[in-house]
Symmetry: C2
Amino acid sequence: MATKGEATRAAILDQALAAASRLGLEALSIGHLAREVGMSKSGLFAHFHSKEQLQLEVLEEAVARFVDTVIAPALKEARGEPRVRALFDRWLEWEQAPFLPGGCVFIATANELDDRPGPVRDRLVAYQRDWIEALATAARLGVGEGHFREDLDGEQLAYDLYAIILAFHHFSRLMRDPRAEARARRAFSDLMGACRRPT
Amino acid sequence: MATKGEATRAAILDQALAAASRLGLEALSIGHLAREVGMSKSGLFAHFHSKEQLQLEVLEEAVARFVDTVIAPALKEARGEPRVRALFDRWLEWEQAPFLPGGCVFIATANELDDRPGPVRDRLVAYQRDWIEALATAARLGVGEGHFREDLDGEQLAYDLYAIILAFHHFSRLMRDPRAEARARRAFSDLMGACRRPT
DNA sequence: ACAGTATACGAACGGTCGTGCTATTTTCTC
DNA sequence: GAGAAAATAGCACGACCGTTCGTATACTGT
């Protein structure tokens, strides 16, 4: 286990993830990143053999952390509304995680990649698809549990949840609106209200 | 039209707006843009005296078109729900306007500017603030007209509307989801349903 | 038609980018 | 502690970036 290499590699990815959160994956600069980590450009470059590979590994790292901080904890909650609520709460936490100074790295990256074909885009889209599917599944379980209306459209709920989070990102990151989180939570609770089965 | 200069200037801005829609304002490259328009880099540069100025003028152009295609027509609709509906419909049209091949240029730019201070960011934020305020005002008029609940929060509705559009951008541009528009319209009609005064 | 100006061009600058090489240093293994 | 292997540094490259400048061409008003 070549420990030293993996250690610096982890340090690089950590720094790169933070940078990608603020500026996006595309704007990652190897020279700038090397200066931040405190090593030479070529030394850093040797770990990944291309910038694209670096981007892919940053993406992978982000996904691993997303699973840890959002998905895994939420799966411990009871099926149905509690789990959906946990997914949303954790997602909102993720948006403000200390290692993501610029907010969700997927959102930050999405816009700059939506017209740039390539492996990085492909990976991102695949991950997003999985995540949306996970949201829809959690929503459908809520119907099975009797928490939600029988005619609830799981994919539509996934869309609505994503909408709330995207707006939170927009209002808090761009507009610096301090009421962004309150608005997001309000929107979520209204949405839950509309999903419950009529009494 | 004063002459040749303004004509090419308009052609440049037109091309630049399309490019910014796809890749963002930051990713605009003067050399690349010049090649697309069919002129020399320095010739193009002479029109705007810095890249930042070019970005600002592209932003200005986008705002002018947004007013023309979204705001102005909607203001002709009756106050209240019809106007809110018109604003939303036109906004969705705007997202798919032919001169915006990458979707709404404001959204495309928002993410790359949210951690880049400067005049361009400042202008964008100011415009966004105006737009959100306009949405909130339109919502409040709906209360006065008796279309919406008395306790409706205009700013919250503006947030919710923005959320739907942002999600549409995400699902259609990144995910290439053909059901994105249907989802957006469904979300909007659900939202309107929740805003109407209880009968 | 001519003068004067607006417009465009080409070349060059300093800078940063990603990416190869080749040494050299550091770390790990026996 | 010696030798192998991994990790890092140094340097150079071609490409592209925004920007400047001097010059040539095209237009405009008279």
